[in-house]
């Protein structure tokens, strides 16, 4: 436990010193502001592109549009930035050789993996929280309706999906020892999940739903309990991925 605390602290400090914290904080803050703004401005923008004299009826935007923007942006831009920022978190240490000195001082190998994962989760949680809170504040300000429900749960699902990808990123780093390689492994998983979605039999257990069904949860089309199987599967996948990563990392030459 003591080793974990020491190395976890080092990881957090590293996040600050290598600008990871700043980068994620600001990007997710900007995303948070943009979501309601884009929702509000879209009808005006559409109207201004219409030829003179033509008019169509565009429905008044609501809080649902704002949250739709939120989930779309976090799922695309947000996750991509997080994965990019963390792509070298293990592989840079391996390629530079900074871990050797600490490992020979008695730092257990599983601690390296677990502390790194914990630090990544902290930053990912912070990022999602910033974006969620900012979006929520502005949405309430612009669209004071009561159309959106289960917001916390919907965001939690997306967060869970991100947590899975981060675990896979570490596995990728252990497998291929390069930051591009670990991104490729993670991207490969997303492609695989999308392919699996083509089989309707598996759909119900596909973790991908945690990143795609969010708006259905917010609009009430999908009940919260319908996503429980996917959450269970994702927890199992995260634990399995971490376990495999630790096993592989123990055998890895440094």
């Amino acid at each position: 436990m003591n080793h974990f605390a020491v190395f976890f602290k080092k990881e957090l400090k590293e996040s600050v010193k290598t600008y990871k914290l700043l980068l994620l904080g600001i990007v997710f803050l900007i995303l948070g502001i943009m979501n309601p703004l884009v929702a509000k401005l879209t009808p005006d923008l559409l109207a201004s592109f219409l030829p003179e004299g033509m008019s169509i009826t565009i429905p008044e935007p609501s809080s649902l549009d704002s949250w739709a923007q939120f989930f779309k942006n976090i799922q695309q831009m947000g996750l991509i930035v997080v994965l990019l920022v963390f792509s070298g978190v293990l592989t840079n240490e391996l390629s530079r050789g900074t871990l050797v000195l600490l490992l020979t001082k008695g730092l257990p190998r599983q601690t390296v993996i677990l502390a790194k994962y914990a630090a990544m989760l902290v930053l990912w949680t912070m990022s999602v929280a910033i974006s969620h809170v900012v979006t929520w504040v502005y949405t309430v300000y612009l669209f004071p309706d009561n159309l959106s429900q289960n917001l916390f749960f919907a965001t939690f699902c997306l967060w869970f999906f991100g947590a899975l990808l981060l675990a896979v990123l570490l596995l990728g780093g252990t497998l291929v020892s390069s930051s591009y390689g670990s991104l490729l492994v993670t991207g490969g998983l997303v492609v695989l999940l999308n392919l699996l979605n083509l089989f309707s039999a598996l759909k119900e257990y596909n973790p991908l739903a945690l990143a795609t069904k969010n708006m259905d949860v917010v609009s009430g089309a999908v009940a919260v309990s319908e996503l429980y199987p996917q959450i269970g599967i994702t927890v199992a996948l995260i634990l399995a991925t971490l376990g495999l990563t630790v096993l592989l990392f123990r055998r890895k030459l440094v």
Binding site: V6, G97, T98, L101, T104, K105, G106, L107
Partner: protein
């Protein structure tokens, strides 16, 4: 007492057999030079000692405890300095030593005390820059400090001087020499003058085995070539002396180089007396007459094919 004992170590990478039955013993409180050509297996041996590699066969004992691959138990006795140590470059030296101390499980006060002491020892006492601005030599010195933070009984350095300029090299060697008596130092190198400068024990690795090992003074005696160097007052005199019929024997070889002769033979005392009697019978007083000590270099060339 022996601080490190290696028995019958075998290790191969694919079809490349790096170690073929390495036996090595390092006595406590020695400064031990581990010499070999590049690629002879020095780094591999060190990684096995640290439990970072699994040998195909053989055992390593550190302070009487067996080293097992993947475990760091025996590493509490060892401080390790890799050939090019890499640090977290955003940290400052004290910060880094603090991290090392915490991982090694030292108390807060002990870490503070040790860090200041060690930075002073390696000449980084007043350096508070980020490590990213460090020169290679400074990184090497910080590397020694981090290796010593746990007060290890054995310090292992992998080619600590090979990447440095002459001044940096001297600084590192001085630091290592200063540790004598406090810690056993094993360092690998292919630079023989470094070994001659600070080591009292040496082992030469070739073809996956030790070909020579022991105290340097004893090796010098054992490998003494029976040769003499004689300097005359002029090249003419040297040439005249070399042409004497008493020296034209199959067991004696004479090499003339300007005013200096190098005479080698199978029988040391006899040849020495022969030379001295020749000086008196020829009425020559040489400017210099000495028995040649074997240099580590000649020894190395002799044992490594």
């Amino acid at each position: 007492m022996n601080i490190l004992e290696i028995k019958d170590l075998h290790m191969s990478f694919g079809s490349n057999e790096v170690l073929r039955g390495l036996d090595m013993v390092v006595p406590e409180n020695s400064v031990f030079g581990f010499v070999g050509k590049n690629g002879a297996g020095k780094t591999t041996t060190m990684k096995i000692i640290l439990g970072l590699l699994k040998p195909d066969q053989g055992t390593v004992m550190v302070c009487g405890e067996k080293v097992t691959y993947g475990s760091s138990r025996t590493n509490r006795h060892i401080g390790f300095l890799p050939d090019v140590p890499e640090f977290y470059s955003y940290m400052r030296p004290l910060e880094y030593l603090h991290l090392c101390g915490e991982i090694a499980g030292l108390s807060r006060e002990r870490i503070k005390e040790r860090s200041v002491e060690l930075l002073e020892l390696v000449g980084l006492g007043d350096v508070n820059r980020r490590i990213s601005w460090f020169s290679r030599g400074m990184k090497q010195r910080l590397g020694i400090a981090q290796a010593l933070i746990t007060e290890p009984r054995l310090l292992i350095c992998d080619e600590p001087t090979s990447a440095l300029d002459p001044i940096g090299r001297r600084q590192i060697l001085d630091i290592l020499a200063a540790l004598k008596g406090r810690t056993t130092v094993v360092f690998s190198t292919h630079i023989l003058s470094d070994v001659e400068r600070i080591c009292d024990q040496v082992a030469i690795l070739d073809g996956g085995k030790l070909v020579v090992s022991g105290p340097i003074s004893e090796l010098r005696r054992r490998y003494r070539r029976n040769s003499f160097s004689v300097r005359f007052s002029s090249p003419e005199e040297a040439a005249r002396f070399a042409a004497l019929s008493a020296l034209q024997q199959p067991t004696i070889s004479v090499i003339v180089d300007g005013d200096t002769l190098t005479v080698a033979s199978a029988d040391q005392n006899g040849t020495g007396q022969l030379l001295i009697s020749l000086f008196s019978s020829e009425g020559i007083v040489p400017e210099k007459f000495e028995v040649l000590e074997p240099t580590l270099e000649s020894l190395f060339e002799e044992v490594v094919q």
